[in-house]
């Protein structure tokens, strides 16, 4: 078990004219040590959903169980919320929501310090996390607000990595990152996954989903529209789902129309495809 969501609804600004129900009776389960992708159209409720996993938002109905933590809509306050935030690290969609301190180094060392580390250890931890994100020492004393968009995201990611949570939730972690940095982040995610961590990634990038995730949840208007394996998602009629077919699938579809059906080959990358096509040609 890692995260179990049972009959959860959520309404923003309840009892005001702006009241808006963003999630309707959602149930799903995220298994320990999986890499789960959460996809769905703009405004479908993705960011709302994951903010409940570490207690930033409280469900209006139902319960969320995260390993030993129970978040029950009937309770007034979430119990052990500080420990929960150590257990579940969430990187926001907009890094600006997370960055707050005067310098990059202070910002990233805040988390470990807040969870009990002494100053020196926390700084070391921060430097280590920044290095993982490719942010070198020339940035330590700079203001996190005077960085480029991608640099801000990397610092925000480092801030959560420094806490070393067991469950890592990334809300569009590659938006604004250059291709090399995206790959570095995703490679790191794979490594953390191998070390036993549970990963949740919100993304619109179907190639990413297909390449890295073993489980996908599709939200539509605050409901779960699909829950299963990524390869099965694209077999559905996706026209109205605001998702896209990975490019490799689009090409396989062109081949199929021309009479070459490779759907049984389980092809996931250009290299695998080229291998199959080359062998076929030799025959």
């Amino acid at each position: 078990m890692s995260i179990k969501v049972e009959n959860v609804s959520f309404t923003y600004s309840k009892k005001t004219p702006n009241s808006y129900e963003a999630l309707h009776n959602v149930s799903l389960e995220i298994k320990k040590n999986s890499i789960t992708g959460i996809v769905g159209h703009t405004g479908s409720g993705k960011s709302t959903l994951v903010q409940m996993f570490n207690g930033l938002l409280k469900p209006e109905t139902g319960t969320i169980t995260v390993d030993d933590f129970v978040i029950d809509s009937k309770q007034k306050k979430i119990k052990n919320v500080k420990q929960l935030r150590k257990h579940v690290g969430l990187v926001f969609q907009f890094p600006e929501y997370q960055l707050f301190d005067e310098t990059v180094e202070k910002d990233v060392s805040f988390g470990p310090k807040n969870f009990g580390m002494n100053n020196i250890d926390a700084l070391n931890k921060a430097h280590e996390a920044l290095a993982m994100m490719g942010i070198d020492e020339t940035y330590y004393k700079r203001s996190p607000f005077e960085l480029s968009g991608g640099e801000k995201r990397k610092v925000a990611l480092a801030g959560i990595l420094a806490i070393d949570p067991d469950i890592l939730i990334l809300d569009e972690p590659t938006a604004g990152l250059d291709p090399k940095s995206s790959l570095e982040v995703l490679t790191l995610v794979e490594k953390l996954h191998e070390q036993g961590k549970t990963i949740v990634i919100i993304t619109h990038d179907m190639d990413l989903l297909f390449r890295y995730c073993d489980h996908v949840v599709l939200l539509k208007d605050g409901n779960v529209a699909f829950d299963g394996k990524p390869e099965n998602l694209f077999q559905k009629n996706i026209d109205d789902l605001s998702i896209d077919v990975p490019k490799i699938y689009q090409f396989l579809d062109i081949l199929k129309k021309k009479g070459l059906d490779l759907s049984k080959e389980n092809i996931r990358s250009v290299d695998e495809l080229v291998k199959v096509l080359t062998e076929r040609r030799k025959k």
Partner: protein, 272 residues
């Protein structure tokens, strides 16, 4: 004709810092759709902000639509060129989506009686007409980007700079926005669009590509000139468009396919 000319532009945010932009020279043709690529921190947003007149202490000259960028011309230039910022939150001023779009129109001295129609039209075009009375800060990430885009399109400018303005849109939303831009360009072939992006597939479809690296322009040209060589792209930390990657890999394993073949043509060859 060139709508933007940048000559020997050098800029640094502070004296202690090394140059963020170093001797940048760039010309952009009227009516082009230009993509600017480059690694994080390469100076793309800074270049855009300097061109917008937001970073005054630069060296070099910048000419926009025939007017040199300086204090006297700034107000006139701001009528020609608009920008969607990388973080839409930095752009919102109004308390509601409607106020926010109205604010820009007011600045552009659009008569009050025309405003409501323009706002409805553009909110509709980006699929946000049901959100006019919402607070911009309470929208989802993609909704914010849509509103920010509507706000600048409504101003009917000559040049639009998009700074990663579709990075958080769902694939369908992205297509809708690109469709909207190409419709606007069709109705007004002189509209110049500059798109700062990491999306190589988007860049592949543009008229012209500029590649930045550590504050300098290191490469520019048509997509075919800039993006055709897969191994060189990888060296420059650029992504490789799927099509280029596929053709390159097929040719390396013995196929003989033209560099600029379409996916349909590639399909015909491999199915033979």
């Amino acid at each position: 004709m060139n709508i933007i000319e940048v000559k020997n532009l050098t800029y640094s945010y502070s004296e202690e810092q090394i140059n963020t932009l170093h001797n940048v020279n760039l010309t952009i043709k009227r009516g082009d759709y230009v993509s600017i690529l480059g690694h994080n921190g390469s100076g793309k947003s800074t270049l855009a902000k300097v061109i917008m007149g937001l970073c005054p202490n630069y060296q070099g000259t910048i000419t926009i639509n025939g007017k040199e960028l300086n204090k006297e011309n700034l107000a006139a230039i701001r009528k020609d060129i608009v920008m969607v910022f990388q973080n839409p939150d930095n752009q919102f001023i109004g308390a509601t989506v409607e106020d926010d779009i109205a604010f820009g129109l007011e600045n552009a001295q659009v008569p009050h009686k025309e405003m409501r129609d323009i706002i409805l039209d553009y909110a509709n075009k980006v699929g946000m007409s049901n959100y006019l009375d919402k607070e911009p800060s309470n929208l989802s990430g993609g909704q914010k980007q849509r509103v920010a885009i509507a706000g600048v399109l409504a101003l009917n400018p000559k040049i639009i700079i998009f700074d990663e303005s579709t990075s958080m849109l769902d694939p369908k939303g992205k297509k809708e926005i690109y469709g909207l831009i190409s419709l606007l360009k069709k109705n007004n072939p002189d509209l110049t669009v500059i798109s700062i992006t990491h999306d190589i597939e988007e860049a592949y479809l543009s008229d012209y590509i500029v590649v930045m690296n550590h504050g300098e322009v290191i490469k520019e040209g048509t997509p075919n000139e800039v993006l055709k060589n897969a191994s060189e792209l990888a060296k420059q930390n650029l992504d490789v468009p799927f099509q280029v990657k596929l053709i390159d890999a097929l040719n390396k394993s013995g196929f003989d396919i033209k560099e600029d073949a379409s996916l349909e043509e590639v399909g015909d060859i491999v199915c033979r």
